[in-house]
Subunit: 350 residues, 2 copies
């Protein structure tokens, strides 16, 4: 394996200075057409490829962005959610000439914050995309802003959205539509399987849901909330609890698809027919919602778009380098959609 050609080799071959080659390669404005062509030809002839390390060291940027996910010790919760976001982020990255470092952290462990900060401190990446629950971690956000690190939040809660660039759907509205849908189906007694406390945007889904019921004149006492943690398993547990109550709900709304799948599982086990005995709704429209039987009525979040949008925003921020101050108005709302499938019946049960 002979040594790779360097920028100096190209310069020599093209008969120009190293600086000129660099300029051509970075499409700086001041280069004549003639020289540009000669350089490009030399690059092609030699099969030259920039050494990113060197470029990064010299320019102070790594051309890498990091995507931060939560993952606790054993579960791989929401992995479809993650994959979709990651995929979108990757797309945007390749398009923009950036690399993507995906990083999972256990939000329960206390080191997570310093880990994230180390990524930017060590110049491992030029910027960060944070997914929940990190996107709601005010302390982390503050630390990031303090060191002028570019970052954008995905599905953050309203507080965090006020602080930094973010992308996500209008979770409250989505919850509202879910509530409406169920009310329209004739339901009057509800269960809601929510996400964990620190996932602010998921909490909004519940707010919106309740609002819809309220709007329809349903008393709040008719809805029981159980707190899950987005896993299939927690969906089973919560559903079991909710369905065992004296006044059994006829509709179960869940803060994500995995928990809805769990609820469905419970229903099967108990022998309830979905949707004739019980309606169930999910959230996210991950493949899970179609894999189960019956397929789930759910809210479609354009997760790939969210991922790519986040990276686009981030890279824009990195390039213009005009700090985080103008963040407030950089809240990107992407459209969601209620997807009606057969897990919710047309008429209310009995």
């Amino acid at each position: 394996m002979d040594k790779k050609p360097t920028i100096d080799d190209v310069a020599r071959a093209a008969g120009v200075a190293r600086a000129t080659v660099s300029r051509v390669l970075n499409s700086s404005p001041n280069t004549s057409e003639r020289v540009r062509e000669r350089v490009l030809q030399a690059v092609k002839d030699l099969g030259y490829q920039v050494n990113l390390q060197a470029r990064q060291l010299a320019s102070g940027s790594s051309r890498l962005v990091a995507l931060i996910f939560a993952a606790d010790a054993d579960a791989e919760p929401n992995s479809y959610y993650h994959s979709a976001v990651e995929l979108g982020a990757m797309r945007a990255c390749s398009e923009l000439g950036y690399g993507l470092i995906a990083h999972t952290l256990d939000p329960a462990k206390d080191v997570h914050r310093s880990r994230v900060l180390a990524m930017v401190d060590e110049r491992r990446c030029d910027g960060l995309v944070l997914t929940p629950p990190f996107s709601d971690d005010a302390g982390l956000i503050r630390a990031l802003k303090q060191r002028d690190a570019p970052f954008v939040l995905i599905s953050a809660g309203p507080d965090a959205r006020r602080l930094a660039h973010s992308v996500g759907i209008d979770d409250r509205q989505a919850g509202f539509e879910l509530g409406e849908h169920l009310v329209r189906g004739g339901h009057r007694c509800f269960g809601f399987i929510s996400g964990p406390q620190d996932h602010r945007s998921a909490a909004l889904r519940l707010d919106g849901f309740l609002e819809a019921l309220n709007h329809a004149g349903v008393d709040e006492s008719c809805v029981t909330v159980a707190k899950g943690n987005f896993t299939f398993k927690s969906g089973i547990d919560c559903a079991e609890k909710l369905l065992a109550s004296a006044e059994r709900p006829t509709a179960l709304a869940c803060a994500n698809d995995d928990m809805a799948a769990g609820a469905l599982f419970s229903a099967h086990r108990i022998g309830l027919n979905v949707p004739s005995d019980l309606s169930i709704t999910g959230f996210d429209d991950t493949p899970v919602s179609q894999i189960v039987w019956p397929p789930l009525t759910t809210i479609h979040q354009p997760l790939r778009v969210i991922g790519s949008k986040a990276v686009e925003l981030l890279v824009g921020q990195i390039m213009h380098e005009n700090g985080a101050s103008d963040a407030a108005d950089h809240q990107h709302l992407v459209p969601f959609q209620l997807i009606q499938r057969s897990s919710t019946g047309q008429g209310a049960p009995n």
Copy 2:
């Protein structure tokens, strides 16, 4: 934002030479305890952190490994599979002080090979982990070996395993056990939903399956094979086809869980009861297999372990730098396990 301390600052603070600091930081053997302590203290005092770019440029290594996945334009096939492998890889990376770059490529597009090679050419990473179908791409493997790039294969077919380091299960044996299990259940008429052609290790599952039937004296004519592509959708389609045939199979074995879920979906739609009318088996033991109803009998692959093992092997290779020549005996077989759930009945139907 004041400038970050450099190695020179540390050297000055500790009253030693820059080279000495470097030595301490890289735990080279020749440093006296006294100096080591002084340096470490200075590091702590200043809050010094190495600049990876610089280290990389100077040392010629990026301390980054890349994980290559397949993902075609719209589907996110097998995302649980990917997530699990990625998670395992990440674990190993953080443990070994490496970073992970995950990269998805469309194997259908022809640029994929050059993209991968660019990763190593541009020194974006020190090594690669290839997942199927890239792990069976002989051309890619050859190109990688040619440039002495360290890499390891995941779930590669036998041909590829002969060429390079690899980790995976004994797919043939797993297929065999699945076959045995179904035969033991009394089945005599089978359908098999296979993976795409270029996924060699998945093909082995079918080989083993057939072998088991053969072993049990079942005629090969009793099994019909449909070719899927690992997606839920393709599982539906294949199952539909297989179940429509004159001699309807009483058992459907699928090369992965997603397709098994699809088969299950078809069965539901047609009105077949699983497992009393039809037994179904999956492969991988991803969460999907427990999310569906009834939960799937499947083969558990320790995907996380596979991911971390692959990275460990890779890093070992990177460190020892003793080329790919001794690859042959570096085939790591990890144990799999048949997980029996309720999608396969105890007795044969009717």
